[in-house]
């Protein structure tokens, strides 16, 4: 089970890295979201997979029972999902504005930052 899970995360990360290498900004953004998913799967694995009890402390005790799962990775994934969502939204807005400003999504055609103050050009604009 663990091996299957790890393999799945590895395949997802591989696909994600392939997409990030794309020259299309939207595909790159999707690749980054996919990478976040792969990382979340890895985080899930850190809590170990198996038949375990939900991490609830019974009224009669003050600590978690021995058979309970580790609640921390679940909290981490939840946080990571929220952060990943915020990053994806920010990046999407950025890409939409970039598309409007440059009229293209091909990252090798977007060179505005390079030409600003390029030493090889005779005199840079303000």
């Amino acid at each position: 089970m663990t091996a299957t899970y790890a393999l799945l995360a590895a395949i997802l990360a591989g696909c994600a890295l392939y997409m990030i290498l794309s020259r299309n900004l939207v595909r790159m953004m999707l690749g980054l979201s996919l990478l976040a998913t792969a990382v979340n799967l890895m985080l899930f694995l850190t809590g170990r997979i198996g038949r375990m009890q939900p991490p609830i402390i019974p009224d009669s005790r003050t600590t978690l029972p021995q058979a309970a799962t580790d609640p921390v990775p679940q909290a981490l994934i939840l946080t990571a999902i929220v952060i990943g969502f915020a990053l994806t939204v920010t990046l999407t807005v950025l890409i939409v504005r970039t598309y409007r400003a440059h009229g293209t999504l091909a990252s090798d055609a977007i060179r505005a930052a390079d030409t600003l103050g390029d030493p090889l050009r005779p005199e840079s604009k303000r």
Binding site: L45, L87, T90, L94, I110, R111, A113, G117, S124, R126
Partner: protein, 508 residues
């Protein structure tokens, strides 16, 4: 709210104050003057609380706060030690200079675009990263920093800014994914996210495959965010597009806080100094540091746009930080800490001064500048201090920071690192002399309009930072002693094991 509550929670205020003020300024978005006053008051209050925290740390060693009353294994803690508190004070000082400069630089259009809330949110995130005791929490602060920085870069929504922000955001998100993977692997091995407990779990155990993988994933992620070779290309292609106040804040704060995180993780958790670290980590750091120092300064010397000169200098300078870390001795760590504070303040000042040059001459181009020595003598004197400090001329802090790194490298047997650092210093001296000559001494080219006056707010901001570099240079002994204490505090085992030589004996 009584006084003891204020003092007990000292580790939280430098984060809470700007975070609350960010929310308030967001509500006051269309009241520009009020918004600006709230921002300035918040920055002052933040600096004051950081200084209070530093005072507490000097007398109590560490100040910690556990949120919601949950102790270390379950809850998230804020732990301020000497290093964190020192970083927080430096952040406050740089933020104060930027806030003063912004009076003249950030006009109403940029304020309506949200400069104040995003600047404050970024400050909260930077202080959060300096003060948190939890590794995952550190990651969260990094992401907040990233989102705020993206907003700040695109303040004017120009094509170049959007392009720069896309490059910055995509690579930073990639780096953050590596960091998160590394954190996950470390958690799987140690079962905790608390930095202190993690260190004690790992201490004395030989490195495992998971820990080695985690170390190099974290190295890749932090190297990207610090702007180390070969992952620094996003930095010089995004920082120069932003408004001056923003470039200055980003250049001063973000790369340094990423370096702080790598120092904390590699020294405290991975035991870089005790020699039980992951194999190859120090070597990898040394290679990266050497390449960063050389590439950064060579690329900077080839530029004609002043913003790009300093953007490449940011990378060149973080190379010295990584060099100090790679020496893997207490003296090296202390040198890196002193250097971190020095370069945090100095890079902010250099970018702010660049904004003043552009204000006076109307151009960011070196070839179109000139004659400012005669026309703006007060500004020339202030900027000379900053440029000489970057070049490493005594008595400014730039000299001592380079001296400490090179001295620690020779003593630690890293002769090659020391020689490369020396070579990069000479090249920096050349670059800064060239810049000085072009901007201040050269006969100015034909100008369509007269040189404009530099607003007093800009001069005041530069005065703050020039005073810092002079102060750190003249009072070098107390600051380095503090840095050595801070280095000993982050290094596991040095304070508790009496057989180790005291840190002072090893330092220059």
């Amino acid at each position: 709210m009584n006084a003891s509550f204020l003092v007990d929670g000292a580790a939280v205020w430098p984060v809470l104050v700007p975070l609350a003020a960010a929310a308030i300024t967001l509500l006051l978005r269309y009241h520009e003057t009020v918004q600006r006053s709230v921002m300035e008051a918040a920055v002052l209050l933040m600096l004051a609380s950081s200084v209070l925290l530093l005072g507490r740390v000097i007398s109590f060693d560490t100040v910690s706060v556990a949120f919601g009353g949950w102790g270390a294994p379950f809850g998230i803690t804020f732990v301020a030690d000497r290093l964190g508190a020192l970083g927080s004070v430096a952040v406050g000082t740089a933020a104060l200079a930027v806030a003063v400069f912004a009076r003249a630089d950030i006009r109403s259009r940029r304020r309506r675009a949200g400069f104040d809330p995003m600047f404050l949110a970024m400050l909260a995130a930077v202080n959060g990263a300096f003060l948190t005791g939890d590794l995952f929490n550190l990651y969260v602060w990094f992401e907040l920093m990233l989102i705020a920085a993206v907003g700040l870069i695109t303040l004017d929504r120009r094509a170049a800014q959007l392009d720069g922000a896309v490059r910055y955001a995509t690579l930073s998100i990639l780096g953050a994914s590596f960091i998160l993977l590394g954190i996950g692997l470390l958690y799987a091995e140690t079962g905790t996210l608390d930095l202190v407990r993690m260190a004690s779990e790992v201490a004395g155990r030989p490195p495992t495959v998971a820990r080695t993988a985690a170390a190099f994933l974290l190295l890749a992620g932090f190297a990207l965010k610090t702007g180390l070779f070969p992952l620094f290309f996003w930095l010089p292609s995004s920082y120069h597009t932003a408004p001056t106040s923003v470039s200055a804040a980003l250049a001063g704060l973000l790369t340094k806080v990423a370096f702080y995180a790598s120092l904390r993780v590699f020294v405290s958790v991975f035991g870089l100094v005790d020699g039980i670290a992951v194999p190859g980590l120090a070597t990898a750091l040394a290679l990266v540091a050497a390449a960063t120092m050389l590439v950064g300064v060579l690329a900077a010397n080839a530029q004609t746009d002043i913003r790009r000169v300093f953007a490449y200098q940011v990378t060149g300078q973080v190379g010295y930080l990584a060099a100090g870390l790679s020496i893997a001795s207490l003296a090296g760590i202390a040198a890196a800490i002193y250097y971190m504070v020095h370069t945090l303040l100095l890079q902010t000042g250099l970018f702010l001064g660049e904004g003043a040059i552009a204000r006076a001459t109307g151009s960011h181009d070196l070839r179109r500048a000139g004659g400012l020595m005669r026309l703006r003598p007060r500004f020339a004197a202030l900027y000379a201090v900053l440029l000489l400090s970057l070049a490493g001329v005594p008595p400014f802090s730039g000299f001592w920071s380079k001296f400490m790194v090179i001295d620690a490298a020779f003593r630690g047997g890293s002769t090659i690192i020391a020689l490369i650092a020396l070579a990069a210093s000479f090249l920096t001296l050349y670059g800064m002399s060239n810049l000085w000559t072009q901007v201040f001494w050269k006969t100015p080219p034909e100008r369509k309009r007269a040189v404009r006056p530099i607003p007093p707010a800009m001069l005041a901001a530069l005065t703050i930072l020039a005073a810092c570099t002079i102060g750190m240079g003249l009072f070098v002994e107390p600051v380095t002693r503090f840095a050595r204490h801070a280095a000993a505090q982050v290094t596991p085992g040095t304070e508790r094991v009496p057989s180790m030589p005291p840190p002072a004996a090893e330092a220059p």
